[in-house]
Structure formats: C-alpha cells, structure tokens
Symmetry: C2
Subunit: 448 residues, 2 copies
Amino acid sequence: MEQPFVIVGGDAAGMSAASKAKREDPDRDVIVFEKGRWVSYAACGMPYYVKGEVEDLDDLVSLTPEQVVENRNIDLRTDHEVVAIDPESETVTVSADGEEFEQPYGDLLVATGAHAVEPPFDGMDLDGVFTIHDMDEADAIERYVTENMPETAAVVGGGYVGIEMAEALSERGATVHLYEMLPHVLRPFGEAVAEHVEDHLREQGVNLYLDTPVSGFKGEDAVAAVELEAETVPADIAIVGVGVAPNVELAENASIELGPTGAIATDEFGRTNYENVYAAGDCAEATNVVTGESDHVPLALTANRAGRAIGQTVTGTPTRVGEIAGTAIVKAFDLGAARTGIVDKEAAREAGFDPVSVTITDETRADYYPGAEELTATLLADRGTGKVLGGSVVGREGAKRIDTVATALHAEMTVTELQNLDLAYAPPFSPVWDPILTAAKVLGGKLE
Amino acid sequence: MEQPFVIVGGDAAGMSAASKAKREDPDRDVIVFEKGRWVSYAACGMPYYVKGEVEDLDDLVSLTPEQVVENRNIDLRTDHEVVAIDPESETVTVSADGEEFEQPYGDLLVATGAHAVEPPFDGMDLDGVFTIHDMDEADAIERYVTENMPETAAVVGGGYVGIEMAEALSERGATVHLYEMLPHVLRPFGEAVAEHVEDHLREQGVNLYLDTPVSGFKGEDAVAAVELEAETVPADIAIVGVGVAPNVELAENASIELGPTGAIATDEFGRTNYENVYAAGDCAEATNVVTGESDHVPLALTANRAGRAIGQTVTGTPTRVGEIAGTAIVKAFDLGAARTGIVDKEAAREAGFDPVSVTITDETRADYYPGAEELTATLLADRGTGKVLGGSVVGREGAKRIDTVATALHAEMTVTELQNLDLAYAPPFSPVWDPILTAAKVLGGKLE
C-alpha cells in the first residue's frame, strides 16, 4: 500500500500542497502535522488586525481546521509537532499530548516556515515587548494595546513589518518611534523608495531614528523605555521586527541539505536532496529569475505556489514550483511602495552585472485628470545586454504597476522591449506613457 | 543642402516625431503643417472637459504652439493644410490664407489622424447633433450643454466615446439614452466586460437600448428626438460616436499604399511604400503582436511611440515603431474596463488559433481588507501552444492589471508562464494570487 503524503506545517505551503494533492488524487492519504492551533492563516494581515481594520483574528483564516478535514478530506492534526525526520526509514516522529509516535511517509513536504529573529537585546522578556510572526503574537499585541492604551510605541526595524506596525500603532493612538540601524528603512526597496517613505513617515508623525542601533529595553515588569547608545526613549510597548529566519533545525538534523542562504535547498520541483522529500514556503530556497541563483524571499505567494506545485508533483504530474523575482509591495500609511528583481546597484554588481539605473517621477493619471498622484519609478538594467534587472515604485496610488516590471523580468526583456509595451492608457488611469514606460524610455536613452 | 523633415499633422504622432527629431539633430529643419489651430492635444481628455472635471480646454494641450516654436525650435504652421503630396518630386502642396505653395521634403511623415464616422442619418445637420473627435467639437458640445441645459441626451454608439459621453452628460444633469445597434456595448472588450458595464450603466440611470439601430434625428432647427424603428425618443442633444476612420485621402491620391484595414500600410520602421515617406498615428496601420498581422487601433500611445521612433529614424538612428497589443482601458462611471490582445473566441479562430477561455471573479485586495472590490478577469489562450492570446478585466478598481497580460503578450508567454509570475502581494493591494494569476491558474487547468 502506498504510504501517505505527509506534510510538516499547516500554513500557506503545507495547506496548498495538501489541498492540491487531494484534489488531484482523492484516494491519496494526506496527513498534515501542525504544531500550533492555527492553519491556513494570512500572516500578512496581522498588522491590520492590530490596527483595527480587520475586526476578528479569525477573518485572517482562509480555512478552518473543520473545513480542511470535512470539505477537503485532509487528515489535519493540529497541536502535533514533528520532532524528527528519518529519510532512511521514511518516517517522521510526532509529538502530541505528551506522547511520541512514528508516522511513515511515501512523500514528505517540509513546510516549517520561518520565525522572527530575536536580537540579543536586554529586556526582550519584559511584558509589552513583542515580535510579530504568528497569530498568537498578533492576538497578544492587540490585547496589550487594548488593555494598556500605550502612549508611546517603539518599533525596532524599518522593514515591512516595522512600517506596517508603525501605521497600526499610530492608528491606535500611540506616538511611534521607529528605530532602524541602517541609514534607510526598507533596504530591499532601494534609496529612492526609502527616502519617499521616510519623508512620509515623518509627515505622519512617526519619529524616525535612522542609523540608530537599539541596545535593549528597560522597565520593571513591563517595558517602559528603549535604550539607545546616546539616550533612553520612553516606550509603553515595543515591537521588534528585525527580520525572519527559516525554520531548518528539523531538516538539518535529518541531513536535508541547506543552500547558500541558510534555507533548505530545493530543485525546480521543490525537491530536497532526498528524492521523496520536498520543501516549500518560508523555510525553503527558490530560484531567482534575474540571477538564476538560489534565493530566500519568504513571501506568501511563493509559498502558496510552491506548495500547490508539489501537491501536483506527488500525485503524478511533475510541476515546476516556478522562479521568483523577489517582488514585494508594502503600504506605509498613504503610500504604496513596491520592488522587484535587483534594485540596488551594488547587489547588481555582485551578481555580475554592469548596472545602469534611472529614477523618474511622473503622474499616475493624465496630469489634467482629477486625483492624479506622483509616482516615482526606478529601473535598473545591465549595460552589456540591455536586460532589465529590476525596479521599484512609490506613490499614493499605482504601486501595483511593479507587476509590469516583474513580468518583464520573467520574460528577460530588454529595456527597449519594456519601453515598447502596449500598456493601457486613458486619462483616469495613466498618462499616455505609463510611468514604467517613461522610466524605460529614459533608461533606454542612458544605454545608447 | 538637406531638405527638411516635413510633417503633415500636428497632434500626437506628428509632434512626437518633430520633437524627437529636433532633440536628436537640432540642425535638421523640421516643419509641421497643421490644418487646424490645435496641436499636441489630448483628445482622450475631451469627455472630461464636457463633464466639467477638466476646467479649461487648454488644460488638454500639452504644448502650446508658442512652446513648440520657441522651446523646441520647430517650424510649426497652424492653419496650413497640406492638399497634395508628390512622392516623385518629393514635395507637398500647402494651402494657407487662400494661397497654395510647394514645400520640398527630405523625409515626410503623414500623420493626418482619423475622423469620426458620420453615419447617413436623417437630421445629422440639426443643431445639437455632434460627433466628438477634435477640440472644436468638444468646445461646441460644452457650450451647447451650458447654454441649453439638455434634459435628455441621446448617445449613439456604445464604444469608449459613447460611454464616456454618457457619463459626462449624466454628470451635467441630462437623462441619457444610449443606443447601440449590436447586442452589446464595448464590443472589442468581449461579453464579460460588456455585461458588467451594461448593468452598471443601468444602475447609474442610463437608458440602454441594445440591438437598436438609430435611423435619424428629428427637430425644427435643433434636435428634439431620436428616431428608432419602433419609436421616437426625446433628445435635447445627440452625440454620435460610432467609430473613427483613418484620414487617408491625401495618401491615396499620392499612391501611398493602404493596408488591409484601410489605413496606411507601414513597415516596422513606420515607412510606407516610399523610402522617405512615413506614416504614424491614427491614419496608419501597426503590427499586432498576437497575430503578427497588420492592424488598425487608433490610440494615443501608439501614435506617440511611432512618431517618436520615426523622429529618431529620420535623424540617423533606425528605430522600430513597436508592435501593438490593442490594449485599451475605459472608465464607465465607477467601473474601469480594460482589454488586450484577442478577447473574442471568434476573432481568435479567424486568426488561426484554437481558443480556450475562462472568466473568473476575484477580489482586488485580500478579502478581509477594507475596500476590496470584485474584479472579473477573462483570459484567452491557444489550446495547441498554450500561448496567451488576450484578456480583459472589469471592476471598480484594478483595471490597470491588464498591463500584466499585455506584457505577457509581448513576451509570447504561455498560460503556465503567466501563472508562475511573481506578482506583488500585500493585503491592501491584492489577494495572494492576483486575479490575473487566478485566471491563469484556472485556464491552465482547462488546457491540461
């Protein structure tokens, strides 16, 4: 008898794989072990729960455990932690209710996700100091805000999480201080975006501390202040969002190979170094479409898509997990900022390119049309080949236009090809030349 | 001495060519003959002038004649009509102030544009019956509305112009009756879009008459009613928007060849059958990126781009005018609708494809995020090759997402490649799977 398809982790990658496998082959047994109680939830929505725009934490759950079991016929076991994988005997060891048991697998998917990095700050264990990576943390932050009505909030880290939480906590009435140890926020988005976002954060009343490492938190039982090198700043709540790291301990202990980024190495089908062991989602690497190299960009779409492909592969239809462009978008108060591919010249040089870039600002609609907003677009290309390497946009509307650049990256377009795209124009939607086309036009001029 | 670069027509294609040629080679003489008084104007903005959202007609002018002459050093002659082209002697005959003269050219660009089709209706010459294709017409309509405050308006034709004018005249207080002889409005956008737009027009109080040919207008001096086969409907103003036709008489008389669409035939550099005679904009054909065939889609971006390329070519840098995908977008009250490539199955079959299509409806943002709207997306692909052929979208936001499909068409992507694009996701901007990806995923399933 065929052994079941066993999945470690019940969020985006795991549940996508389980659902797809069951849909393709309803007779195949699919078991999902989830160590917590939440499955299939939208982690990206958590800041909006804290902000108060999403009323109920359950609204972030796309499938309840009951739906998974009843409608999809998946054998889902929450509060079951896989503590070991044995690729030789093709079994996993599962811990639940204080007991352990072995579960054989035919195919295995490691979808263990990532965790928030906890920096070695003093006072990380004080009440009111949080990271935000899972639903219980979101729940705890929301309750803490509701109960304590913090007047001042410290957000440590100027990545997406930091910026989204700055918005959320401002909305909840706190004066927000945002600390970033680097010279700019949103490093992967490049300087042009960072400067716009920084100006906007300040306009919105956020106290921005750039180039400012935090050394710890102070307080009796609960956090009361943030310690910097030069000063101490009051804080009634602190959110630490300094990045995430893949959960690879289980894989490493089973001699599943990690890649150069420290996440689990996979081939184009999401396979690890073991024929019937796959990895997907925030714990796994993916191939970057611009560099052709392994990359680790833990985002929801990548996890969903890879999980779905693996569900198809293990039920008999080999399906590629797809490449990533590192496309990302973030809301910062009234601004949208987005990026794809390689935005930074230094990173382009490291990947072997000879980068040329432009940054232009144009309108999102015809300039005479009401509601037109400025959009600033950056494009990067390789001088030798003319290939587009990446780009960014930032503005009060239109940030999704990054998708045009992302699509161009997948198609390995040159700047000339990008410039010649027949994009949609009418006065309420775009200038005649969409800002992406204008950026390509100007960049084309620099490449001549 | 090199003869000047002579341009017939001072709108999008003509002025783009003139400006680019002067920028590339400031010593080259560039003469633009424009038979009217308006140059470089945004015809697409005219409905919004009538609506009252654009205050001044001059706001639609991107360059005044004075700016053209003084800042760009272009020899612009308004109120100068080219009445003949002689490709053998390389001269044009120009009529101005009741006199005619000859002007030799080194290179010639025919950018004569298009005109609104005037159907053979009774009463087309009544006061209050308008077509809308140039600025004087927009001006006249606006004045007529202001002076007569029409209670009922007839809009004949359910294309972009008709729909934009229905919105404009509703806003100005008229009860609008829209007459379309075909079963649906917005024929090039396909049925899924048409049905959404029709429902929305009705919600907005527009009286929609589908499958309803108009036979004429009745009234004393001014229009008072529209005559249909079965009834007569009151109308205090009538806008006839039943399509445009290229202005090719001048070219035809000079043995410049027309293509299968009836517009001027051009090669990839915008050249006609005469080596140094080019054509661009609404009077010229372009190559369709999906079919590889000649096509005539008179839109602003195509005109601007082709003009610009020709300005570069005639000054020594041969530059392709680019292919078109027939991408278009239109606002219909609160809806945006867009299309690209081939949307209609019958048209796909005529072009030699075996079309498979899907229409899906999904949200524009994460479903739990405030402000999420429905977006309906249609995708068409060829069964044999899996190539994407075209698509459409319609919804209250997100219509510019058609650009992703347009980009995919230029890259000749398959449905699988489209489905694997790394597009931007965050809850305020998109569901995890952008609706375009969802459409591709579902279409992929149908192609398996």
